[in-house]
């Protein structure tokens, strides 16, 4: 039986900090930046005293900032005490799950106005320690002792996908090129540069240092150059991996009946689904993410729509292969066809199924706890026609977000609708 919310939930405001590397800022400073932007985005304004609960996605401030119990600290920092404040930890899906908890809290009737946040401050630790902190999302008894890293897990999934569908590995590089093209048009992106811009930057640097100036025929040639784009975990290279980032994002949710008090153009949360799974080795399929398919089916059924109705999606491209698998798990393309769609440009802004118009995690950045909330910011902008140069053409009705924790141990999918 299709499950429905007991009452509707709307988004009436969003905000995000710039994603990137900010040695001088802590996670709470970044959240202030996101929250201030959110306050400006609520069309008819709002009184912070209206907020009744705060759900905050954060993976591991314990390791990144030596700080646990972050939700009440952040709530107090922006003047929201004594409202109920809860930190949600589901690895890189923490933000998406925090959003879902906020939605469910309103749908339950317990509260009418909820602030959802996501934040992560990752770059204070040296690179190897960041890798180790992220590895905490895997099974520390039975996966990590094998020698796996997160790029390694997704690389292994890529090996299974490429073998099963005889996929062209260049399709992975195409995803990276496309997401950099989109991110170049997003002022909040960590790398708002096309791959062409990156190439020009490397040439300029070589010239300044008096070194031989590297030449590449085109972006694909750059991506295939092992010196420019070194292997991290075969077949994944540096530009197949999302970066280590600092950032925060925020979303204001209200009950459907209160939406018009805050905005004449809210967007509605019409579908929400979440699923889990065991360690990667335990799964039936290594070339897909079963929990993403389950979560999306639940969300589609609740929304009463199918993948063909979705105008665009923000998906969890922590690695390029993840975007290709997601495009199939979410039903946009049949199994084994996602890599071809990426090659043919069907997921570009001009394609039939635009994916990651924001630049995705790859280019926008991946402050893990913030990523799932940051996705909603892009959906909001696209549905309102305020995404600037990266705005999709035509009338948009449905946007989808897909947020993954670990290798797919947690998946959470939301569908948003813009009415009239």
């Amino acid at each position: 039986m299709t499950k429905k919310f007991s009452r509707g939930v709307a988004v009436v405001g969003v905000g995000m900090s710039k994603f990137g590397v900010f040695p001088e800022l802590t996670s709470r400073d970044l959240f202030v930046e996101a929250y201030q932007e959110l306050r400006q985005s609520v069309q008819k304004g709002f009184d912070p005293k209206d907020i009744e609960a705060f759900y905050m996605g954060n993976f591991t401030s314990d390791h990144f900032e030596n700080q646990a119990h972050l939700a009440p600290i952040v709530a107090s920092w922006v003047g929201l005490s004594p409202i109920a404040s809860t930190r949600i930890e589901d690895a890189c899906a923490s933000g998406g799950v925090a959003l879902r908890q906020g939605v469910l809290a309103i749908a339950s009737g317990d509260v009418d106005v909820v602030l959802v946040g996501g934040l992560e401050k990752m770059t204070d630790l040296p690179g190897a320690k960041v890798t180790d902190a992220l590895a905490l999302a895997a099974d520390s008894m039975f996966e990590i002792p094998a020698g796996f890293t997160f790029p390694g897990f997704y690389a292994a999934m890529a090996s299974a996908y490429i073998d099963q569908y005889k996929a062209d590995p260049d399709s992975l590089l195409r995803v990276g090129i496309k997401n950099h093209e989109n991110g170049a048009l997003n002022e909040k992106a960590q790398f708002n540069q096309t791959i062409g811009d990156v190439m020009a930057g490397k040439r300029k640097k070589a010239e300044q240092k008096g070194l031989p100036i590297p030449e590449w025929e085109d972006e694909m040639a750059f991506m295939k150059d092992l010196k420019a784009n070194p292997m991290i975990a075969w077949p994944l290279r540096l530009f197949d991996c999302s970066p280590v980032s600092d950032g925060a994002a925020a979303v204001l949710l209200v009950s459907e009946e209160l939406a018009s008090k805050y905005s004449d153009s809210p967007i509605f949360v019409v579908g929400s689904g979440q699923a889990s799974d065991g360690a990667l080795a335990e799964r039936e399929s290594l070339s897909s993410v079963p929990a993403a398919e389950k979560a999306s089916k639940h969300a589609y059924a609740m929304a009463g729509i199918g993948p063909e109705d979705v105008d665009f999606a923000e998906v969890h491209d922590c690695f390029t292969i993840a975007e290709i698998m997601a495009s199939e798990d979410l039903g946009f393309f049949p199994r084994g066809e996602g890599w071809k769609a990426a090659m043919e440009g069907q997921t570009a802004r001009s394609g039939s199924h635009p994916i990651n118009t924001s630049g995705g995690l790859k280019s926008k950045g991946h402050p893990v706890g913030a990523s799932g909330v940051g996705q909603v910011v892009e959906v909001w902008k696209q549905l309102h026609g305020i995404a600037g140069e990266r705005q999709l053409p035509g009338t948009l009705k449905y946007g989808l977000t897909h947020n993954v924790g670990g290798t797919g141990q947690t998946c959470v999918v939301h569908i948003f609708e813009k009415r009239n």
Binding site: A156, I232, A233, A279
Partner: protein
Amino acid sequence: MTDNTMNSKEFQQAIAQDLLIGSRCLNCGNISIPQRQICPRCNSDKAERIQTNGRGTLAAFTVIYVPPTSMAEAGYNAKNPYCVGIVSLEEGARISAQIVGVDLSNPSAIKIGLPLKQTFVIRGEGESARKFLAFEPA
């Protein structure tokens, strides 16, 4: 008191003795590796311990050039990478493990479906030396 003998540390103790153990559900026959008390397929809590024959095939793999701290301490780096994979065991379950004895200079030549057999590797030296499960071409 319930009979819960399939504790998770037992697996690592078995590895230390060159054994790869698992469990068989006494209700539905499902094999779990590592062993577990409650069957993930039928939820029965009646299980028996099994010892695998240590043979399987390669289901997925990667060659890692940027290792985590634990593997870096064992001497791995971009110039000395290692292979890690997921192995489908003959008994019907899969497990993650390091893959040794394959040509790391050409990962595309490592083929999914490659027959493998269990072996064990020591990482670390002196008091920090520890034995880990691995597989090699059969």
